[in-house]
């Protein structure tokens, strides 16, 4: 674990750095994927930027709203460069809502956008695992297994490594696009299902789980997400969307059917029939 890196007078927080690198790589991957799904990369970049910035601003405002009298007395604290005064879950919801509004305003088609984001999301989850390796957060329960690591005064399950390994495997699967049909939203649902499954599995070894009754809340949430994504996957495979939404084809992109790019894969109908 290497949570800090000193560079002269600067003390770099390496977990944060891993997250930033993950965001950058993820956004770059999404822009590249946009070409495959025949979306305008600039729209995808803006979509992500709107979601990200709204999420950060929303997380700070949501935190401030919980301590309204304090922030009314010190309004300049709203602009403090400190991650400790963010409400991450609320920020996530606000970012999602803002990105959704951008999607609707630009009339971007949902399923191709979701597929476009998928490789970037998979990369980001690897970066998140790396950030946990660096910080030592998301730590495991005490164990005597031969691959245990000595952390925080005990021999523990190396849950950070389990998590990163699972994210890497998911990235490989997503990269191979086993369900084909780019733009139909299937790759995204596959990613969500696999990520939920991985979390349900690795959470069992965590020592810092929050608990609902006798159950770990992340596992319960994972089960709900897994059920929903599998149901949706079943439904979307039965009712595929058109391969390329005409309204978003860019001038540089060749119209569907006029390219023999190896990335394109077979037509949606063919692949859906094969998968079913």
């Amino acid at each position: 674990m290497l949570p800090y890196l000193r560079l002269g007078p600067l003390l770099l927080q390496t977990p944060g750095l891993a997250i930033l690198v993950g965001l950058w790589l993820g956004m770059t991957a999404a822009e590249k994927e946009a070409k495959r799904t025949h979306l305008n990369p600039a729209h995808i970049y803006n979509f992500l930027l709107v979601g990200l910035l709204s999420g950060i601003v929303g997380a700070r405002l949501a935190y401030a709203s919980q301590y309204l009298s304090i922030y009314l007395e010190n309004p300049l604290s709203l602009f403090a460069l400190n991650l400790n005064t963010l409400a991450p879950f609320e920020g996530f919801l606000i970012g999602l809502a803002a990105a959704g509004l951008y999607l609707a305003r630009r009339k971007l088609p949902l399923r191709p956008v979701l597929d476009t984001l998928t490789p970037g999301l998979a990369i980001f989850f690897v970066a998140l695992g790396v950030s946990h390796i660096l910080s030592g957060q998301a730590y495991g329960m005490e164990t005597q297994v031969p691959w245990s690591i000595f952390l925080w005064g005990e021999y523990r399950h190396p849950t950070q490594f389990y998590e990163t390994l699972a994210a890497l495997l998911i990235l490989v699967v997503i990269w191979l696009r086993p369900l084909r049909s780019p733009g139909a939203g299937l790759n995204f649902l596959l990613f969500v299902s696999l990520t939920a499954l991985a979390r349900i599995f690795t959470e069992a070894f965590r020592a810092d789980s929050s608990i609902i009754g006798d159950f770990r809340s992340a596992q319960v949430a994972g089960l709900v997400i897994l059920a929903l994504s599998l149901l949706l996957l079943h439904r979307w495979m039965k009712s595929p969307t058109p391969y390329v939404p005409e309204s978003v084809v860019t001038e540089e992109d060749p119209p569907p059917g006029e390219t023999d790019s190896p990335d394109r894969g077979p037509s949606l109908q063919d692949s859906v029939e094969r998968n079913l």
Binding site: Y4, I70, N74, N84, W152, A204
Partner: protein
């Protein structure tokens, strides 16, 4: 099939909440662990032991007089101390005397009119125990002696200090 396997795994890995969250975590300078204990002499010549402060919300702030962000955030800490000391807040602003000097620390305290306790880490053992890698570093400790928040670097805004302290005081209620 996959879903039922996942549900079975979830059921198999359920926990006893009392055993899982109960009991004292080993001392470690991290969120969720017991704050490592220390005894230090203070600038005014008395002695302070962290474990004696169980039952009170404690903020341990590591600082030095030459550290610019420490200078910027100290008035905010003082403001919060004045506002919450009667509600059970204790602030221990540990001066890293091993890399500072007692005289400079005393001038700093006079300059900012600090009214809280200033323990002196003369040999650097406490900052080493707390794995302090940069200044300022602040630990927010609840009434059970468990670290609930760590802020590395600064300056902290008054709103940050106040909101974290309010959280811990609310939890005590």
């Amino acid at each position: 099939m996959v879903f039922f396997l996942a549900a079975a795994w979830t059921y198999a890995s359920r926990v006893d909440p009392a055993a899982f969250t109960g009991g004292e975590r080993p001392p470690n300078p991290r969120k969720g662990f017991s704050a490592p204990d220390f005894t230090l002499s203070t600038l005014d010549g008395s002695e302070v032991t962290l474990s004696d402060l169980r039952g009170q919300v404690v903020v341990v702030n590591f600082w030095a007089s030459w550290c610019l962000p420490c200078r910027v955030e100290m008035p905010a800490i003082e403001q919060v101390h004045r506002a919450y000391k009667d509600l059970g807040l204790v602030i221990l602003a540990v001066n890293m005397t091993s890399g500072d000097s007692r005289q400079d620390a005393a001038s700093f305290v006079d300059e900012y009119g600090l009214t809280f306790s200033i323990p002196l880490d003369l040999d650097g053992l406490v900052s080493s125990k707390y794995e302090v890698r940069g200044l300022p570093t602040t630990y927010f400790i609840d009434t059970e002696g468990v670290i609930q928040e760590v802020v590395v670097g600064g300056p902290m805004s008054e709103a940050l200090v106040q909101s974290k302290v309010e959280d811990l005081l609310r939890k005590e209620e």
